[in-house]
Amino acid sequence: MLEERKKILSIKNLSVSFSQYEGAFRWKNLLAIKDLSLDVKEGEMVAVVGSSGSGKSLLAHSVLGILPYNATRNGEISFYGETLTEKRMRELRGKEIVLVPQSVSYLDPLMKTGLQIRKGKKDESSRQKSLEVLKCYGLERDTENLYPFELSGGMIRRILISTAVMEQPRLVIADEPTPGLHIDIARRVLSHFREIADEGAGVLLIIHDLELAVEVADRIVVLYAGTNLEEARASDFLEENRLRHPYTRALYRAMPDNGFSAEPGTQPYAENRPDGCTYAPRCEYVQEKCLKEVEYRNFQGGMVRCIMAGGEIR
């Protein structure tokens, strides 16, 4: 059923690197995202999960073509089968592809929210539309006259979502829409994104809270140190042995319902990322082969980057 839907977004072997000075005079390249691939189909919500520093926001920024000036992007990103060049991104962003950013700092501090929702347009029909959208998200009419600093955390998320639905987007990229929110409000915010997906658009949800992601998304892509280790159906997270990668399993075990057990060690930063599997230094099954490039392959209806999958992992 899912397979028949059209692919909206397809990312293949994406890598993003930064050039910067190291010390006083030496230039160096820092690979922040390495060999990342994923798809988003119509009506589907794909969650990209990973702890901070795993490159989640950069992924969003690469699709929109708003990476910083010292960043370089490689690999292919396509939208409905058509390659997204910088020029094409400029045409599509804000219309077909929209971003829902993560915090109040993404709103102009000196512009009233109503005006921001409608991108500064002052005509009556835009205004009516923005008022409808506000109402739709349970915000009062008067909210349009408030400045961002006067909004509560929950209101800010809803305002940010409002900016997305002012157009008819085909793809919504939500960058961390839940941190700092009470769990009930977080669920409500995510339900709004679910609605957008159910109406036919694709949603790429970037989130660090695996539990919430499993609740709301269709598929989960697990990011670790700038590369993806696994892609699983949300339903795979019902049982540990349906999961494909040791890291995902560790994440599973760290979920509150499954024992809350934390793995030792930390995610490596880009400058000392290991050559092969990025998780190898922490992996209990690590082998000689893990230190070379590991292929990202199809496995049991999902994807995995692990030579052991299907083997001895128990």
Binding site: H61, L64, I66, Y69, R90, L92, R93, G94, K95, V98, L99, P101, S103, S105, Y106, L107, D108, P109, L110, M111, K119, G120, Y147, F149, E150, T163
Partner: protein, 330 residues
């Protein structure tokens, strides 16, 4: 409304206290001077034409027999009532001398202030919005060079260029020599004002450029500009819609706070162009030991500077919604 009033009142009181302190400092400085205004100007016609009463008053202010505190109090008391004493060099009440000189300078200063503010702001925005490009480098280099150029030397170069070589503009004085005040035409005034205005506008521009550029860079790197880009807003839309909105207020504040610099610049530039304004009067008073005039000019220009700062504070506190509402919610 009440809170706004209190805010203004608080700033006003602060300004008044600073005024008071400045007058004490200025009075102290001229008082400790080994230069005795009476002796320096003895034998000059100034003293001769003064009434006995005026001379007495002078020695009351500047004589060494009375304690400085009492001298200050009597001077300040008269000053507040509008009596700033009599200028030793101009043989007129200081208030009248300052009035005439200030009105000569005011238009020139005002125009230079406006031009440097507006042009500096625009150039700063252009540079900040085009970071790292040739335009940015050009504007930044221009700001650096004008910040390093002595205003009076530039004035000399202009004088040389336009007055001596090209002979298209007059060499000095705000009016032709020997013309009665009433006969001065607007054309004369404009012709004599062009070079001072040009010099002051060019040299006074750099701090505004650098400040605006810096703020613009901050805005361009902000999350909300990134989001605006993500929403498909073009560069121009971003600069006009978010850039100016967010940097206008700090720029206005700087502009009002920069009055001091333009007055300082005018002291030197007026000297070069023999422009009979407040700056030239200050130099004449300083060199000629005209203590009442020097003191009067120092206090009046401090008053202008503080009024500028006061306006800047009020602007910020009343216009910025963040500060305004934060105050109302207390």
């Amino acid at each position: 409304m009440r809170k706004e009033f209190l805010f203004i009142l608080k700033n006003f009181v602060r300004m008044a206290i600073l005024m008071f302190l400045v007058s004490i400092v200025a009075f102290f400085l001229v008082s400790v001077s080994p230069i005795d205004p009476l002796k320096v100007n003895v034998g000059q016609t100034a003293l001769g034409s003064m009434s006995q009463e005026q001379i007495e008053k002078l020695s009351q202010y500047w004589g060494t027999s009375i304690s400085p505190v009492r001298r200050y109090l009597s001077w300040a008391g008269d000053f507040i009532r509008g009596d700033m004493g009599v200028s030793l060099l101009y043989r007129q009440p200081v208030s009248r001398v300052i009035g005439v000189k200030l009105s000569n300078s005011l238009l020139m200063l005002g125009i230079s202030w406006l031009i440097s503010g507006i042009v500096g702001f625009s150039l700063g925005i252009l540079a900040g919005a085009n970071r790292g490009k040739r335009l940015d480098k050009g504007i930044s280099a221009y700001a650096l060079i004008t910040a390093s150029t002595p205003a009076f030397w530039l004035a000399l170069v202009f004088l040389m260029l336009f007055g001596v070589w090209l002979k298209i503009l007059p060499i000095g004085l705000s009016v032709p020599i020997g013309t009665e005040a009433a006969e001065v035409t607007i054309r004369d005034r404009i012709l004599h004002g062009i070079l001072p205005v040009l010099t002051l506008s060019i040299t006074g521009i750099s701090s505004m450029i650098l400040h605006t550029r810096e703020k613009m860079l901050e805005v361009m790197e902000s999350d909300y500009v990134l989001f605006a880009k993500a929403r498909g807003e073009t560069g121009t839309q971003i600069v006009l819609g978010h850039g100016i909105r967010n940097i206008l207020l700090p720029a206005l504040t700087l502009q009002f706070a920069s009055i001091s610099e333009i007055i300082g610049g005018s002291v030197l530039v007026e000297q070069v162009f023999s422009y009979p304004g407040i700056g030239q009067a200050a130099v004449t008073a300083g060199l000629g030991g005209d203590v009442p005039l020097l003191l009067g000019i120092a206090v009046i220009s401090a008053a202008i500077v503080f009024t500028g700062n006061f306006t800047a504070n009020i602007l910020y506190g009343i216009v910025d919604p963040r500060i305004r509402k934060a105050r109302n919610n207390i």
